[in-house]
Symmetry: C2
Subunit: 315 residues, 2 copies
Amino acid sequence: MHEFDLIQKYFNWNGLPANVSVGVGDDAAVLEIAADEQLVTSIDTFISGVHFPHDTPAEAIGHKALAVNLSDLAAMGASPQWFTLALTLPEIRQNWLADFSRGLKTLAQESACFLVGGDTTRGALSISIQVMGVVKKGQALTRSGARAGDLIYLTGTLGDAHAGLESILHGFELAAGDKAYCQKRLHRPTPRLQQSELIRPFATACIDLSDGFLQDLGHLLSASRCGAQINTAELPLSKALQTLPQDIAMQFALSGGDDYELLFTIPKNKQPEFEKYIKKGGDGLIKQVGVITHHTDQIIDENKQLLDQAGYSHF
Amino acid sequence: MHEFDLIQKYFNWNGLPANVSVGVGDDAAVLEIAADEQLVTSIDTFISGVHFPHDTPAEAIGHKALAVNLSDLAAMGASPQWFTLALTLPEIRQNWLADFSRGLKTLAQESACFLVGGDTTRGALSISIQVMGVVKKGQALTRSGARAGDLIYLTGTLGDAHAGLESILHGFELAAGDKAYCQKRLHRPTPRLQQSELIRPFATACIDLSDGFLQDLGHLLSASRCGAQINTAELPLSKALQTLPQDIAMQFALSGGDDYELLFTIPKNKQPEFEKYIKKGGDGLIKQVGVITHHTDQIIDENKQLLDQAGYSHF
């Protein structure tokens, strides 16, 4: 199978919107963008054995490769528009490609994010996706806007994906239902795009959790030049994690990667309005977990004990 | 070395222009785009042993990984603006990174194309670059606009990079100076951005040559639903290729990959104006090599013999 046939069969999807003038199949894509918007763009690589276990189902790989990129857009408060795909494959296995393509396409359609170009190559399995979104001028959420006194919030629960990964790689024991739940959280993370829209008018800073809660909080603090006090007893844990010994659950929650939840800050004086607003939005997933302090790069718990920020490192 | 230190040291370059609101270091980049322009975007992956010999100098890899993407923008008539980099490395070797980063940065600065984000990962050496450019609304050059009677033009010379590759991989013999020239054409292709600007007001279709002259011409013909007659005796060959036996030189020119020249079509009635215009632009690199015909997907030579379009295939 020639690469052009491969692209035609698996990645030349119909239904491109009017803001795509040239999509898949030319030297580059040509895209329209409105005058009062800014383009928001992020790239992530996804490698077998590094970002996902070798035996991960292809459909989950397709889903997750796009999901982690959409999560970056959510962290910026941007609306997804388009993405490009660089796919490196050791060989052409049609079943694998059909499953991968389906996982990718389903999430792309759910998110109204359109594939507009790409590149296929032979080599060790690797997927790079560049996602592009838009945001109204000046409304992007960065990591650098948090100020001492701001309240720290979180979407969803922590550590589930890490428990799922441990169950696959090291036979970590979980009840059958919990195992399925945690592995689903690992393989099929939900990019928090809806929550991002709720948050955007209120938040001063935002980051998505990929390397672990403490490490990613550390990045936000570093960019904002401040510190944080975290109420570890209030960290949101799923029912699956609540069944684990407390020290293990806390370790997974604080340092486990692959959560793809949003961590963000809200000025104290906006708290009442924000909490009313998110309740109206019907979202029970958002919870306050701490407060921003003056102590640059320092993270302490409710007992003023220093928390170690070491998380996942690729090197 | 942590990935964040790696990014800071080698890829957080100064001198971002005003149209970059958020660059390297946040979840995503935030970019400004003017109201009357369209965004043009392309992604290419570059793998050791596939796209370049394993012992290619790191500085050349950095240059070429960006050059092949800029060549796609040139083929669309777009001006480079920004790029993102997904870099996968087996290990951190500081000398290698310094050389790679220098090759990348030098071409980025020459092309006024700014690095605005990326991702670093551990794995087999692989580089994916997504490049973004802009073009005035409606002025992008696609592959699909050629019509029977249009004249086929080419920038530069054909087959040099392939001769360079053969000299590295299979000891193909070239005189010392020719060898250096051909390997330079392989390792350090010049994206034809200036020629692209000259061509844009006149061309009906354009493609860049990456897989080989005949194969890429085939893509243009396929998208434009027409055929071509090529004057093979007029194909531009460098002095290095002119010293080779004619059948080998012709094979390299017609089917060798990695040329990164522009192949484009001009309506016959615009020829006099176009030729005057490119002479004024001082560019002796542009030459007519054939004419578009009605015979869809068929490429013939000056003796009406069919030419075989097989070129490089990744799979």
